[in-house]
């Protein structure tokens, strides 16, 4: 009963190149863990893991141009 017991949130992590990486999970740590499923170590190293904001899904479209 995942969405009822363990809801997920969206996070925008700052990247070293000034862009942002969209991630999602139960917590920022979980979101980074999920990102690591598909990103290489080099791509993960670009993420500033302690610099992020939590966003609402409803605001997703506002952040599209910031992604990298």
């Amino acid at each position: 009963m995942s969405s009822f017991s363990n809801p997920h949130y969206m996070y925008l992590f700052d990247l070293k190149n000034g862009k942002k990486k969209l991630a999602y999970g139960e917590s920022p740590e979980d979101a980074l863990d999920i990102l690591s499923v598909r990103l290489s170590d080099a791509e993960m190293a670009e993420i500033m893991t302690d610099s992020y904001v939590k966003i609402s899904q409803r605001d997703l479209q506002k952040h599209v141009s910031e992604l990298g």
Binding site: M1, S2, S3, F4, N6, P7, H8, M10, K19, K21, L22, Y24, G25, I34, V37, R38, E43, Q57, R58, D59, L60, Q61, V64, L67, G68
Partner: protein, 466 residues
């Protein structure tokens, strides 16, 4: 007035609504789903006509070449199109042809692609007006006085589906060949294997509130109140009285939500509908696990015969990556429950309910073992129509936007088309998936099963458009 294509309906207006889709889909369709009608078009044309604005209808699906379409366009002063990402190339091409023939004509566009990929819409100079978001509260004024509006318009929608008029289904395009006409049941829709024809497609709700990152429709479709149960049943009875209904496709993104509405549906549909028609509708495995009694009651008491579940993957690793917020355990619970109900139906000599199992392959980060687990999950379903697609990074969705930004999407505005075999993401080993679907790894898949109910024929040929 210019030359009229000989098979076109008589012209009644200088305003044209162009229905979009693959050329020839209403003449010689690949499958039944290509023949489904556009509810946005139906709703907005109904609103226009009820407000005294007549429009003609043409369809790219009703011609087999762009030249055939061009011959029907001379003399129109305005053309409207509902543009989705996968019809964007058709809309673009049709707009160019329309403007060549009618240089002073005006083109009004709207639809999902205008909302999620405005930059691509703005890059087409032929699109004179682009309406983002819902259009039902703005379309009458926009068509009457387009010059009063800027090029990009923020649409205004109803706060509840209760405000929508009942769609006049005779405003939908007609099948365009004798062969298709014979089986189509227009203005209802053709039988597609889920229940007897004539089929009624209908919406009872809009917007799935969950956050699956291949969709995220809640980020670009405003929340809207659900259609009252009585209004849904009244429309079904009206259509049955007029045309005869065989079965229903409830085309909601997520039917199995809002338990209060569902309980009212259980109470009223069997009692008030002319007949308890079988229907197709969608759920999630975690909602089934949360409300199993409600799920079972809907199947047993309202004839929910084809249960569409977005299982997507049989691997927790990938379910997390898709932000599905469902687990392997949720999926297995749902499979076990429906298998049990189906066994009882079979024992009673009744046709069992079936899954319409949505499965996604080719997800970036997916390993062969993840894919094997998914196929194993599929094989655990006793009664199932598999609907398998390669993951497609559409704009509008969180993962789609992110992959586009990373330069990993192979989809382009010229190739939004959802051909099943299209390779959609850079770095995904599609050859592996072709071999998987051809049965090459069936021995490995079967090793993890208690009982092997299905061979690889279950998924051979089950790849569909994303």
């Amino acid at each position: 007035m210019g030359i009229t294509w000989p098979w076109a309906a008589k012209r009644t207006s200088d305003i044209l609504w162009l229905d979009l889709g693959d050329l020839g889909d209403l003449i010689n369709p690949d499958g039944p789903h290509e023949q489904w009608q556009d509810h946005g078009l139906g709703l907005l044309r109904t609103i226009l006509h009820q407000n005294g604005i007549q429009t003609d209808i043409l369809s790219t699906r009703a011609v087999t070449s762009w030249d055939q379409l061009a011959k029907q366009l001379p003399g129109y002063k305005m053309m409207l199109m509902n543009v989705r990402s996968y019809t964007y190339p058709s809309a673009y091409k049709a707009a160019q042809i329309f403007k060549e023939i009618n240089p002073d004509g005006i083109i009004l566009t709207g639809g999902m692609h205008a909302t999620v990929a405005l930059d691509e819409m703005q890059a087409v100079p032929e699109f004179d007006k682009i309406c983002q978001g819902p259009g039902e509260k703005v379309i009458v004024d926009l068509v009457r006085n387009p010059d009063d509006f800027p090029r990009v318009i923020q649409g205004v929608g109803a706060s509840s589906m209760a405000e929508w008029p009942m769609i006049d289904r005779t405003l939908w395009p007609k099948p365009a060949s004798r062969r298709v006409r014979r089986k189509f049941n227009w203005p209802l829709e053709p039988e597609c294997g889920w229940g007897p024809g004539p089929v009624v497609t209908i919406l009872t709700s809009r917007v799935c509130p969950w956050q699956c990152v291949f969709c995220n429709e809640n980020s670009y479709i405003p929340n809207m109140g659900r259609r009252p149960v009585d209004a849904v049943i009244d429309e079904l009875n009206y259509l049955d009285d007029k045309h005869g209904v065989g079965s229903i496709v409830i085309h909601d993104s997520m039917f199995f939500q809002n338990p209060r509405w569902l309980r009212e549906w259980i109470e009223k549909y069997p009692r008030r509908a002319n007949k308890v028609w079988p229907y197709w509708a969608a759920a999630r495995s975690d909602t089934v696990r949360q409300w199993p009694d409600l799920f079972e009651a809907l199947i047993r008491e309202t004839n929910w015969k084809t249960i569409s579940i977005g299982f997507e993957s049989g691997s927790d690793r990938i379910l997390r990556l898709l932000n599905k917020e469902c687990t392997e355990e949720d999926n297995n619970f749902t499979i076990d429950l429906l298998n049990k109900i189906a066994d009882e139906y079979e024992a009673q000599g009744k046709e069992p309910p079936k899954f319409w199992a949505n499965i996604m392959l080719g997800i970036p980060g997916e390993t062969p073992e993840d894919a094997f687990k998914t196929m194993r999950m599929l094989k655990r379903m006793k009664w199932v129509f598999p609907s398998i697609s390669y993951y497609a990074p559409y704009p509008g969705s969180a993962l789609g936007f992110q992959l586009i930004a990373e330069g990993k999407s192979l989809m382009s505005k010229d190739n939004y088309h959802r051909f099943p075999d299209d390779e959609k993401v850079r770095g995904v080993d599609y050859q592996f998936y072709r071999e998987l679907l051809a049965g090459k790894y069936d021995d490995i898949i079967n090793q993890g099963l208690d009982a092997v109910r299905h061979g690889s024929d279950l998924y051979q040929g089950a790849l569909v458009k994303a």
